[in-house]
Symmetry: C2
DNA sequence: GATTGCCTGATTGTTGAGCAATTCTTACGC
DNA sequence: GCGTAAGAATTGCTCAACAATCAGGCAATC
């Protein structure tokens, strides 16, 4: 029988790779599946979801006690989860006053776009991990948006647009950048939810997405990067022209 | 007598500015001074400082109880603070096993450099906020490094190098990017502290820093950005060649 | 009439104790 | 030597409590 007695103490990687090591390596990859997510994490996920999906409006107050009863967890756990969301800029904590769903002001919007104009074009330009699969993800986001627009599902169009920009950053192949981009996009969703009318806001950008995607598929990354930069500049002014959170 | 009867309810800015309003406006600027920092925040700052200054080695275990007695705060507060440091990637939490000072592996180093190669050159290239003061900050970091190297204060040289790169990103004028860069640099410090010998590691980059700074001062941002990219590529291979966290 | 001072109620910041679940340790039996 | 079972230690989470702080109302004051 095959010896499986080589399970080493965790946290130590082996210098040589034999079959057993390959087996445990494949298991470590599956660990994320079994990983027991902490209660605080699940609470944070639940509240974050309510917010980015727009069921909790920017500016809303979130009393800790109410969250406890609503979610069935203790106040300490709620506090731990909410602190997480505060660092993600999804919530704002005012000392001794409470937690509020973040309501980004115009300066916040400008700064998010400043950051995006650094990260997105540079990710496209360098494209260190721009393999076929990642370019295909960009294409998929474009088609997803086309379908949503055709059916006039404007919320789905907004989501597709976010997938598009996430796919652009993914071309750099950096999990850390991906995570940062996810934060910026979550903040953008807050901005959209604070606007009276979103609806067809994203529609005019469909054609641009397609153009950028085609440039990418043609391997013209520099041109694509320039197009992304221009895109972001216009989107910022377009958005700011109709954004005024009271 | 001058009427001082115009003090409006807080949170509303007045259209007209008279003397009383000017007085209270000057006070709002001082508000940051009275801001009360929470205990958890101070605990997180203290532990983070211990770690990035190298007094706590990567891989060290941090039992919660010991932190409580050492810092004189309750376990709940410690947990809240440590969760913050986990999201900053300064600590790693292994479920039911405990907290450990993060020990970045080689893949982590590669990813940090991937992210830096996106953010830093792009910040320099666009330089949306590259005013005199921000360029002067770059110059200051170069001189700081020169002084440290001249006196063979290697730790200070490492700090100066971090200031240099932070100043480069600051040229983009985005607080969100600055914060992200601070996280990446904190992770870099962990890498350095996990190495047996740092000492003169940063020394060869002094001349490069100076060159980049001169390009910036001459307004040649594109050339400076290219130099930064090349810098980061070489630094990564240089660092990885001698980095093997057990 | 507007401002101040003070009181009340509600919420937050922080503490302490405690329990179940899990991991680590150690000693035991084979 | 090897696997195993009991025991110790630590974490994840809950509950209850208290001081500090904030919001709002109401009377006293200039």
């Amino acid at each position: 029988m095959v010896a499986v007695t080589v399970l080493r103490p965790p946290g130590l990687e082996s210098p040589g790779l034999d079959l057993a090591d390959a087996a445990v390596a494949s298991l470590t990859r599956a660990r994320v599946q079994v990983m027991h997510t902490s209660t605080a994490e699940r609470v944070a996920d639940a509240v974050r979801d309510e917010i980015v999906e727009g069921r909790l409006r920017p500016g809303s107050r979130l009393p800790e006690q109410r969250l406890c009863t609503a979610l069935g967890v203790s106040r300490n756990t709620v506090r731990e989860a909410m602190s997480q969301l505060v660092t993600e800029r999804v919530l704002v904590r005012e000392p001794h006053r409470g937690l509020f769903v973040a309501r980004p002001d115009r300066e916040a919007v400008r700064d998010v776009y400043r950051a995006r104009r650094v990260i997105e074009p540079a990710s496209v330009r360098s494209g260190e991990a721009a393999d076929d699969a990642r370019v295909a993800a960009v294409r998929a986001a474009v088609e997803e948006g086309r379908g949503a627009a055709a059916d006039e599902r404007w919320d789905d169009l907004a989501s597709a647009n976010q997938h598009f920009h996430r796919a652009l950053v993914a071309l750099a192949g950096s999990p850390r950048l991906d995570q940062q981009m996810a934060l910026l996009l979550a903040e953008m969703r807050l901005v959209f939810h604070g606007m009276p009318v979103v609806r067809e806001f994203h529609e005019p950008y469909l054609a641009r997405n397609a153009t950028i995607c085609e440039l990418l598929e043609g391997g013209r990354r520099a041109a694509a990067a320039d197009a992304v930069d221009e895109y972001l500049r216009e989107a910022e002014t377009h958005l700011l022209s109709g954004y005024d959170p009271t």
